[in-house]
Every structure is written in structure tokens, then in C-alpha cells.
């Protein structure tokens, strides 16, 4: 790891940790509110924000210099997207089933 960032990571780690705890509380509270069809959207948005925080700052994707690593991460997200979106495009639109 680079030496010039020796002092800052600790503060960043604690800020991310606090945000993750806050996000957990938010998800829980949001689930108790009646947001109609947006309940699921809000829950997934908060979950994805939390996952991004963990991936970017705790798993150090942010600041990663290897292009191969970025390729793997982007392909993973892409194939997961294919799996979920194409499946839902099928099952979600089967009016006859």
C-alpha cells in the first residue's frame, strides 16, 4: 500500500463503519413505513449503497491500480445483472402463468 495515505485510512474506516450502521438502521425503519411499491426499491437501494461502501473502501476497489481486477469486478456485476434481469424479464412478464 502507498505510504502517503498512512494517516487518513483510520478516519475513513470509521466513517464507513458509521455509515453502514446508519444504513442498517435506515433499512429497518424504512421497512416499517408504508411506501407502497417503493418499499422494495428503498430497501435494495440502501443495501446496494452499503455493499458499494464495503466493496469500495473496505475491499479497496477504490484506488486499486490493477486493470485485471477491475475487469473481474465489472464482469462479475455484468453477469449477475444478466442472470437477474433476463430471468426477471422472463418471469415478470408471464401474464399467462
Amino acid at each position: 500500500m502507498s505510504d502517503h495515505s498512512q494517516s487518513s485510512p483510520l478516519k475513513m474506516y470509521f466513517v464507513v463503519w458509521g455509515s453502514l450502521l446508519l444504513g442498517t438502521l435506515l433499512t429497518y425503519e424504512a421497512a416499517l413505513l408504508d411506501l407502497g411499491r417503493f418499499n422494495a426499491a428503498v430497501a435494495l437501494t440502501i443495501a446496494t449503497t452499503k455493499a458499494l461502501l464495503v466493496a469500495l473502501f473496505f475491499m479497496h476497489i477504490k484506488g486499486a491500480h490493477e486493470k485485471l481486477l477491475k475487469l473481474v469486478v465489472i464482469s462479475t456485476v455484468f453477469f449477475l445483472f444478466l442472470l437477474l434481469v433476463l430471468s426477471m424479464a422472463d418471469y415478470g412478464t408471464r401474464a399467462w402463468s
Partner: protein, 236 residues
């Protein structure tokens, strides 16, 4: 050039026993480990992705039944477990920071704390499972989910067969997640032994980083499992 080329060791190798001879330098060795780990995590994402896909399809079909079944799980325990895992992710990054800054005692303390959080998570999970067994909500011959109202639809009862699908997914997904936690505890025991023996230095702590990536991944899976399994239609 110098004597070291004669015996086949470059300067860096002579001073760094952890550098394996088939890598050009420490950076390449570290990048290779990281690349391999991320490919492994990619397979893990697809592995859990299939389960999430099954979950989404059935949730779309049997939303009311899923909501009724979800409501029978203690969301407070699930929320507490989310907080426990988030804290364990913090102790993991602090452990790596301790290794980077040669703080051996802190490193060992953070690894032990991470494992304690992991065990706490499994303990809370056990309490949850125990309640499900007591309520006969475990899929199988003794499964029963009769006269459970669908949230927001008074007088309408959930179909036990559909609720059973929810509980099957609940046990498979949280069970596989718990299995990952157990494997993670094994990995961290090994990391703790290595740390105890003073194997990690500011120049070499790749196993900590790779173990950390795994631990964070398991945390991310839980970050999605919590709202999807515990918080369906809670407001109704």
C-alpha cells in the same frame, strides 16, 4: 552481474523469504493473489446469485405468502446480526492496518475480535433457527404454517405450501451464508496463528488482505439477505 545471480536469487528474494521464486517481485506476487481471490469471489457471486434469482422469482409469484412468512422471523435479531457483521468488517480492516503499521498486539486483538463477532453472529443465528424449529417453520414433514394472515389483507391466510418455499429459501440462503461464516472463522484462526508467529510485516500481509476480502464478501451477502428475508412488507 553480482554473486547473487550465480545462485539464482535476486536481491529482493534474498531478503524476503515469503517471495516465491516464480514471481518477479513482491508486487507481482501480491497482485496475483488478489486477482485469484477476486475471480474466486466472482464465482461466489454467481453461486449466491442463482439463489437470489430463485428468491426473486418466487417472491414475485407468492408475494403475500412471502410477506406473512417473513413477518414470522425476528427482524430485530436479523438487524442485530447485520450490525455485528458490519463491526466485524471494521475489525478486519483495522487488523490489516495494524499489520501495515507493525502493531502486532493490535493485529492479534483485532483478529480475535473479528472471530468473536463471527461467533456472536452464529449464536444469534442459532437462536433464530431454534425459534423456527419450535414453531414448526422448518420445511419438511412437520412443517406447519396454518392460519397465518397475509399482512395488509385481514381474513386472507397464507398458503402453507408457498410459505414453505420461503422458508426453504430462508434456510438454504442463511445456512450457506452461515457455512461461509464458519469457513471464515477457520481462515481467521489460521491468520491468527500466523500473526501470533509474527509472520506478517508491513511488507508482507497478503494472507490478511485475502482473508479480509472473503470476510467482506460474506458481509455483503448478508447486507442483501437482511432486507430481502427479514423485511418483506413489515409495515402492513
Amino acid at each position: 552481474m553480482s554473486d547473487s545471480t550465480v545462485v539464482g536469487l535476486n536481491h529482493e528474494e534474498q531478503h524476503r523469504p515469503e517471495l516465491l521464486h516464480h514471481f518477479a517481485d513482491a508486487q507481482q506476487q501480491r497482485d496475483s493473489s488478489s486477482f485469484g481471490m477476486w475471480i474466486f469471489l466472482a464465482t461466489e457471486v454467481m453461486f449466491f446469485g442463482g439463489l437470489f434469482c430463485a428468491y426473486l422469482i418466487y417472491r414475485g409469484w407468492y408475494f403475500g405468502d412471502f410477506a406473512a412468512a417473513s413477518k414470522s422471523i425476528d427482524a430485530r435479531l436479523g438487524g442485530a446480526n447485520t450490525a455485528v457483521l458490519i463491526c466485524s468488517s471494521l475489525t478486519v480492516v483495522l487488523a490489516i492496518w495494524a499489520a501495515q503499521t507493525s502493531r502486532r498486539a493490535l493485529l492479534i486483538a483485532m483478529l480475535i475480535l473479528t472471530m468473536l463477532f463471527g461467533v456472536t453472529f452464529l449464536g444469534i443465528k442459532g437462536i433464530e433457527y431454534k425459534a423456527k424449529f419450535d414453531e414448526h417453520h422448518v420445511p419438511g414433514a412437520s412443517f406447519s404454517f396454518d392460519h397465518e394472515e397475509i399482512p395488509g389483507h385481514p381474513g386472507q391466510y397464507a398458503n402453507p405450501r408457498h410459505a414453505q418455499i420461503f422458508f426453504s429459501l430462508y434456510f438454504i440462503m442463511t445456512g450457506l451464508h452461515a457455512l461461509h461464516m464458519i469457513i471464515g472463522l477457520g481462515l481467521f484462526t489460521w491468520l491468527l496463528v500466523m500473526a501470533w508467529r509474527g509472520r506478517f510485516t508491513p511488507e508482507y500481509y497478503t494472507p490478511l488482505e485475502m482473508g479480509g476480502l472473503y470476510w467482506h464478501f460474506v458481509d455483503i451477502v448478508w447486507i442483501y439477505l437482511f432486507p430481502l428475508l427479514y423485511l418483506i412488507d413489515r409495515h402492513a
